[in-house]
């Protein structure tokens, strides 16, 4: 059963059993987000504190074990990564509404300055 498929009450499995475990991957909790952490690769020192603290496993890691961005499908915008980040200007919280209004490029420049 894919999450989001609207099944009728009489089509559900007895006892609310799920036959495809792990289907929570179909449920994009990123939609809960009001604020979004944004990442400035230029400033990042790859200490991976964000990866250690993220409660939703939403910090992406590349093959060399370095920070590779944020998975916005599942990041709920809790802000823990920004709070724990030891490097000023590497991670910051911005409003989703601002990104929608002004566009990502403008918000990024306003937040981190530079290019």
């Amino acid at each position: 059963m894919k999450i989001g498929e609207k099944v009728q009450w009489n089509e559900l499995l007895t006892g609310g059993v799920i036959e495809d475990p792990g289907n929570s991957i179909d449920y994009k909790t990123g939609s809960w987000r009001i604020e979004r952490p944004i990442w400035n690769k230029e400033a990042c020192i790859n200490c991976m504190f964000c990866w250690v603290y993220c409660p939703d496993s939403s910090i992406k890691v590349d093959k060399d074990g370095n920070m590779a961005g944020i998975n916005y499908d599942f990041c709920k915008g809790c802000g823990i990564c920004v709070k724990e980040c030891p490097k000023p200007g590497a991670l910051a919280m911005v409003l989703e509404a601002d990104i929608e209004k002004k566009g990502m490029d403008v918000v990024f420049k306003e937040t981190f300055g530079g290019k």
């Binding site: 609207k6 099944v7 009728q8 009450w9 009489n10 559900l12 499995l13 007895t14 006892g15 609310g16 059993v17 799920i18 036959e19 495809d20 475990p21 929570s24």
Partner: protein, 397 residues
């Protein structure tokens, strides 16, 4: 052939459990149900059973372990009473909503405070909306028979819902009675092998129990769950009839005692129904058309059948063994009266509470109830909708 034995209600439950020989029992002792797991543990120690007995540290854990074992695919049983059942409350809902078959024997007992270890229905009525099937027993024989039937009802493919088999604390649990114990092999044959629908231990089929359901999903799951307990109604009747064919004692969702032409009826559950039957017999000798409806299955409530059974009665008294706690009437009163609302000749219904915390109810009290019913039929006037039997002091005006 079965054999006659002289044992109390707890022993009757323990012997039924021995013959069922479930895979897992997780239990915590509490008066007046203690002798059930205690006797069962002796049976296990003596090699008469090979059940895994999990001795947990609380009833919350007992029911949790039962849920785990049932989800794994085991045949699971436990027993408890009063505060123990109250402590299980959270997990009772999980067992029923995961549609896990299991049987819990309840030695119905008053809830504290004041501290009281004696019989009434406060504990069971607190769990009446937990989604479990509830079977009330009058005596040790019914306890033994109902536990065996409950396994079959609970595991029925259309039902898959846990069952509480209820007996009155001390009145039944600790009263030695003569009853018939069937042969082990015949009981095993009657209940058959258990084939769980979604066993977690079947690793070839990966499944998840107890997942999260957001507002977009939860409601449908609860409606789906409801179908199981609703379908239990005909299954309880069918299993009761099958039991009768094999062992000679048939059961239905309720028992009608001299109710066919009755004008005055008592509706009640549990051990005191035996006393009520004696009083009905005496009144019948005097030409009073008294009758009794003893409800065996309180959940799911057999409303349609009760409407039919009480349709020609003039006045009905429900006798409940729990305080209504601010409700319009006791649980039994509300169910019965609601069932009768659509009856063509709607009888008048009054509400009595009796036996709280083990308070005795005697033949003279039943006589007083029937006298009141006759008075109401004659005058057409109800003086008290609610009254308490055998208390000191007068209730109401």
């Amino acid at each position: 052939m079965g054999k006659k034995v002289a044992l109390d209600g707890n022993a009757a439950a323990a012997h039924a459990i021995r013959q069922i020989n479930p895979d897992v029992i997780a239990a915590f002792p509490i008066t007046p149900s203690t002798q059930i797991p205690m006797t069962v543990s002796s049976f296990i120690a003596d090699g008469l059973m090979d059940t895994e007995l999990v001795t947990v540290e609380s009833e919350h854990s007992a029911m949790s372990a039962c849920v785990g074992a049932a989800a794994a695919g085991g045949r699971v049983m436990t027993a408890t009473a009063a505060q123990g059942l109250a402590l299980m409350w959270e997990i009772l809902y999980i067992a029923s909503s995961m549609r896990l078959p299991m049987v819990t024997v309840i030695a119905a007992r008053a809830l504290n405070a004041p501290l009281n270890i004696h019989g009434d229905h406060s504990d069971v009525m607190g769990a009446r909306d937990a989604g479990w099937i509830q079977l009330f027993c009058e005596d040790a024989q019914e306890v033994y028979d109902s536990i065996i039937q409950a396994i079959k009802i609970s595991e029925n493919k259309d039902v898959l819902t846990p069952v509480m088999v209820v007996m009155d604390g001390f009145n039944t649990t600790h009263s030695v009675e003569v009853w018939e114990m069937e042969e082990d092999e015949r009981v095993k044959e009657f209940i058959g092998e258990y084939e769980p629908k979604y066993p977690l231990l079947d690793v070839s089929r990966k499944i998840t129990y107890g997942a999260w359901a957001p507002p977009s999903e939860y409601f449908e799951h609860k409606v789906n769950q409801l179908t199981g307990i609703i379908r239990a109604r005909p299954v309880v009747k069918k299993v009761g009839e099958e039991f009768g064919k094999v062992f000679g004692r048939s059961y239905d969702c309720f028992e009608l005692y001299k109710l066919d032409d009755a004008e005055y009826a008592i509706v009640m559950m549990g051990s005191a129904a035996g006393t009520a039957k004696d009083v009905v017999d005496v009144l019948r000798e005097d030409g009073v058309k008294a009758g009794l409806l003893k409800i065996r299955m309180f959940r799911p409530f057999p409303a349609e059948e009760i409407k039919e059974a009480l349709g020609n009665v003039k006045v009905v008294a429900t006798l409940d063994r729990v305080i209504p706690a601010g409700a319009y009437g006791s649980p039994l009163f509300n169910e019965v009266r609601s069932a009768l609302y659509d009856a063509p000749k709607r009888p008048m219904v009054i509400d009595y509470i009796y036996g709280l915390g083990g308070r005795d109810i005697q033949p003279k009290h039943f006589k007083e109830v029937y006298e009141n019913l006759q008075r109401i039929a004659k005058t057409g006037k109800i003086e008290k909708m609610l009254d308490f039997i055998n208390i000191r002091g007068k209730w109401g005006k």
